[in-house]
C-alpha cells in the first residue's frame, strides 16, 4: 500500500510542550482523522504537513518520494484552516481572482457551482459571513481544485448537521473519484459525525501519537464492555476506560484481555471509534477514575 504522507523523526518545539512523532505513515486513498484533545498537536501536525509551518526538525515525504520543495506537492495539496484565511474585505469575485492567481488547477466554474450548492451569498464580504459560511467558502475553494491530498483542520466544527453530512459526502466523492490516488486528512472533535468517512485514525495525546491504525483494525483490537455494578471492581483493572454508576458500568478493554473477563456478568460488543478514542485519550491523560 502506498502512503500519501510519511513523517519521520518529526519534532516541533513550542513554548510549553513539544510535538514528537518518530514515525507516522498516512495511507493513500483513504480518509484519515486526527483525533485528540485541544492543544494535543493536531493543528501543528496538519500545518507542518501542509507546508505552512516550516520550523520543525525531521522529514516529511509526500506521494511516495516527493518533498515539499517540489512544486508538484503544493499544487496537489488543498488546505483549509480552522479560521478563515481569506482577506475580510474580499467578496466572491476577489476570491476567484486570487485563487486563480495562486493555483493553476483552480476550476472557476466548479467553485461557483459548489458555492451555489452551499447557498453562499455572492455579494457579501467575507467579514459579513457567519463562521459556518466562512468554512463553506474555504471548502468550496479547495474542492474546486484538482488535488491529491486534502488537509482540513477542524472542518466540521462550525458546520450545521446538514452541512456536516454534505461534507462527508463530498469527502467520499473525492476519495471515490481518485480511485486510490486521492486522500483526505482532517482533524476533528466530532468523531461520531465523521466516523462514517474515517478509514484511518491517528489519536494524538500530549504531542505524541497514542494510537493509530485502520478503524476496522482498531475495532478488533479493542472491545466495549458493559456489565452490572456487582462485577465492576473486578472488571475495572482490565479496562482502558471506565465509567459507572449505581446501575452498571461500561468501558473499553483490549480484545486480548477479554478472556480475563470470562465468568463475569458482562456483555461485549464492537466499540465505536468515538468510544475507542475517548478510552485511549483517557488512558494517556492518566485520569482513569
Amino acid at each position: 500500500m502506498n502512503n500519501c504522507v510519511e513523517i519521520k523523526d518529526f519534532i516541533k518545539k513550542r513554548k510549553n510542550y513539544e510535538v514528537n512523532i518518530p514515525k507516522l505513515q498516512i495511507p493513500e486513498g483513504f480518509a484519515t482523522a486526527f483525533i485528540g484533545e485541544n492543544g494535543a498537536g493536531k493543528t501543528t501536525l496538519i500545518d507542518a504537513i501542509a507546508g505552512i509551518d516550516l520550523s520543525y526538525s525531521g522529514t516529511i515525504k509526500y506521494f511516495s518520494d516527493h518533498t515539499l520543495t517540489d512544486k508538484y506537492v503544493r499544487e496537489n495539496i488543498g488546505y483549509t484552516s480552522s479560521v478563515s484565511y481569506f482577506q475580510p474585505h474580499w467578496k466572491m469575485r476577489q476570491i476567484i481572482e486570487v485563487c486563480s492567481l495562486l493555483f493553476e488547477n483552480f476550476d472557476k466554474e466548479k467553485f461557483i457551482e459548489i458555492c451555489q450548492k452551499f447557498k453562499l451569498p455572492d455579494n457579501k464580504s467575507v467579514a459579513q459571513l457567519s463562521d459556518g459560511n466562512k468554512m463553506r467558502l474555504m471548502l468550496a475553494s479547495v474542492f474546486a481544485r484538482q488535488t491529491r491530498l486534502l488537509l482540513m483542520d477542524e472542518p466540521a466544527s462550525p458546520l450545521d448537521p446538514v452541512m456536516r453530512d454534505c461534507l462527508c459526502e463530498m469527502i467520499q466523492q473525492y476519495i471515490a473519484d481518485g480511485n486510490g490516488n486521492k486522500s483526505v486528512c482532517f482533524s476533528t472533535h466530532n468523531i461520531s459525525d465523521m466516523e462514517m468517512v474515517t478509514d484511518y485514525a491517528v489519536i494524538i495525546s500530549g504531542g505524541n501519537v497514542a494510537e493509530c491504525g485502520f478503524v476496522e483494525d482498531l475495532k478488533e483490537k479493542y472491545i466495549a464492555v458493559k456489565g452490572e455494578k456487582s462485577c465492576a471492581d473486578a472488571a475495572k483493572k482490565f479496562l482502558y476506560s471506565f465509567s459507572g454508576g449505581n446501575y452498571g458500568f461500561e468501558g473499553i478493554c483490549l480484545s486480548e484481555d477479554a478472556d480475563k473477563l470470562a465468568g463475569m456478568d458482562v456483555k461485549l460488543e464492537t466499540p465505536s471509534l468515538h468510544q475507542i478514542s475517548v478510552a485511549v485519550l483517557k488512558k494517556c491523560g492518566g485520569d482513569l477514575s
Partner: protein, 125 residues
Amino acid sequence: MKIMQNSGEPIYKQIAQQFREDIMSGKIGQGEFLPSVRGLASSLKISVITTIKAYDQLQAEGLVTAMQGKGYCVNAQDSEMLREQYLRKTEESLNIAIESAKITGMSDDELVEMLKTLIEFNKNN
C-alpha cells in the same frame, strides 16, 4: 443494497453477506467485478476500509480474487461443494434449534409450526 447502521451486526459482515448471496444466486456471475471499493463506500455512505474488509472476507472465502489495479473479480464457483457446505451448516443450526426447543419443553409440532412461521416471516421481509 441495504445497510443497517445500528443493527449490532458489523457493517462489513452485512455487505459481505449480501454479496455472498448475490454470487451464490448467480446475480453476479463468474468473471464479473464487484463495484469499486471507493465507489461503493461513497454510495453506501460508509468508510472505504469497511468495504475493503468486506471484500477481503469474500476473498478469504474464495468467492472473489483481488486483481491489482482492477478490483475484485468473482471466481468460478464449485456449486456442488458449496451446496454441500451450506447443507451441513443448515443441519447444524437446526440441531441447535431442536436442542433449545427440548429445554423449553416445546412439542415437535410446535417447533415445526414455529419454523413455518419464521419461513413465512422471512419471505415477507
